[in-house]
């Protein structure tokens, strides 16, 4: 919120530089059916300029951030104890986006410096909540950093956090498209898309859009039944198991 306010102040002070950003998504709702194997959501954007807008020498850079619904993730660490390896430490991260992606046309480090990235909160590490301030000893901090690094690394391996630095296409100097490859394992819920336009490392404008992933039809019916009529659902499952078991026996029966 503070970021938008700061940007607002910036633009309010100098109306002549204002570029505007117009966004549209290829879909507002991703429907999960029995044949769902993931979806591609395309972001189209137009950078609007008027006669007063100053000329940009280096062209525009677009950074698209996608943040899915949040949840808790537990990272655990194993250490040797005698002959066996066991989990010696666990750390719970709450409010971690269960899917996140950063799309750009070139690596973020080339687009803008670290200070700006920190200010704009660009980068997967900024998707994590700030570390708790209760324990600030150097050892604890190093340990915490190791866990944060592990979380990001493991989430990237699981395709739950994506860094795609060649996924934004500039169709025209002020017209772009970006394809968000949503894996089938991405959770259901609301996804927020933040699109930032930068030029020469300077952020110009950030606009937000969103889409929803939800189960429809049969899959929604099953998911609802499992949650709302758990006992009935359990009984139906058991009945199915027993009758199929009995049927196989009857069909294959020789005697």
């Amino acid at each position: 919120m503070r970021r938008f306010f700061a940007l607002f102040l910036l633009f309010a002070a100098s109306p002549a530089v204002a570029e505007d950003l117009v966004l549209t998504l290829s879909t507002r709702e991703v429907a999960i059916t029995s044949t769902y194997t993931g979806a591609d959501i395309t972001v189209f954007g137009l950078i609007e300029r008027d006669a007063n807008t100053i000329a940009r020498a280096g062209g525009y850079d677009i950074v698209v951030e996608v943040r899915g619904p949040a949840g808790d993730v537990v990272v655990q660490k194993k250490d040797r104890l005698g002959p066996i390896w066991l989990t010696t430490a666990r750390k719970r991260f709450s409010k971690v986006p269960l899917f996140s992606a950063i799309l750009s046309a070139r690596p973020l480090a080339e687009i803008t410096d670290e200070a700006t990235r920190g200010r704009l909160k660009l980068g997967l590490v900024h998707f994590l909540p700030e570390p708790a301030p209760d324990d600030q000893s150097p050892l604890a901090e190093r340990e915490a950093a190791a866990f944060r690094d592990a979380l990001i690394r493991l989430r990237r391996i699981d395709q739950a956090a994506l860094i795609l630095d060649n996924s934004v296409t500039m169709v025209r100097p002020n017209l772009f498209s970006a394809k968000i490859p949503l894996p089938a394992t991405a959770p259901t819920g609301l996804y927020l898309v933040h699109v930032s336009v930068l030029s020469g490392g300077v952020p110009l404008k950030t606009v937000q859009a969103g889409f929803v992933v939800r189960k429809v039809g049969f899959d929604a019916f099953i998911a609802n039944a499992a949650r709302n009529d758990a006992a009935l659902y359990g009984l139906v499952t058991l009945l199915m198991a027993i009758s199929l078991g009995w049927m196989a026996n009857a069909i294959f029966r020789r005697d």
Partner: protein, 308 residues
Amino acid sequence: MQLYLPIAELPLNLFLLLGMGGAIGFISGMFGVGGGFLLTPLLIFVGVPAPVAVASSSVHIAASSVTGALTYWRRGALDLKLGLVLVAGGLIGTLLGVAFFNQMRKLGYLDLIISFSYVTLLMFVGCLMIVESLDSLLKRHRGKVMAARRPGDHRWYEHLPFKMRFSRSKMSTSLIPLVILGSIIGFVGTVLGIGGGFLVVPALIYLFRVPTAIVVGTSLFQILATMLVATFLHAVYSQAVDILLALTLVTGGVIGAQFGARTGQTLKGEEFRLLLALLILSVGIRFSIDIVIEPADHFAINATELER
């Protein structure tokens, strides 16, 4: 053909699931084990979240054991009385296991100590069975006839009070060791999340000298009773039973179990014990790899606690 699973929340290949269910069902029908110890890790390996894998495997195990148990029942190779005694023991073990499990979570690493002792037990049982079955295979090869169980031949624990006669299993024994066996199975199953079929089978064969064919049928009956309860509890409490995943696994599983039960009955006792020993040993090795080998990555995301 990809099929999206509504509770597991990912698409998986339909034929892969049918094949997996079939293969595990075959092993289940043949050896009288549930197969959850193989199916659950397989499902986790292909990406199913751990709670869904555990809960949906239990449906598969229930269905495979229905079909297997019915086959043995028709051939008179199921000791219902013995099965019920084991189920009763299992119930005690499960209750103890649940209480213990909740305490243990507060204490920390006890689960690992249990896994470690369990692995040791599996390896020990597996090795003993391999030696014994090879020995009797060799003896049979040389033409020696194995002495069958004689009527008055009883071990000390069979002399304990509460004697009962199990005519189908051709034995009479005290209820105490049987109930204790059932409790241990129920306890281990609850704490480690695996059925105890591959402990029941060797225990009945070696400790109580029940004929192999009857052991398998009875073990399947005990597994069936346990898994029906487990499935229902999973559905109500963890809500992690994926009916579509279960349906595909079960379809493969019941067919596999039919062939497994047939194949199992054509095996000689020694061959059966040798194959089961190899299976038990490989399960022991699999579990020990998890805890003895240095993990490639010291960090891991604990999938069981990932909230959706």
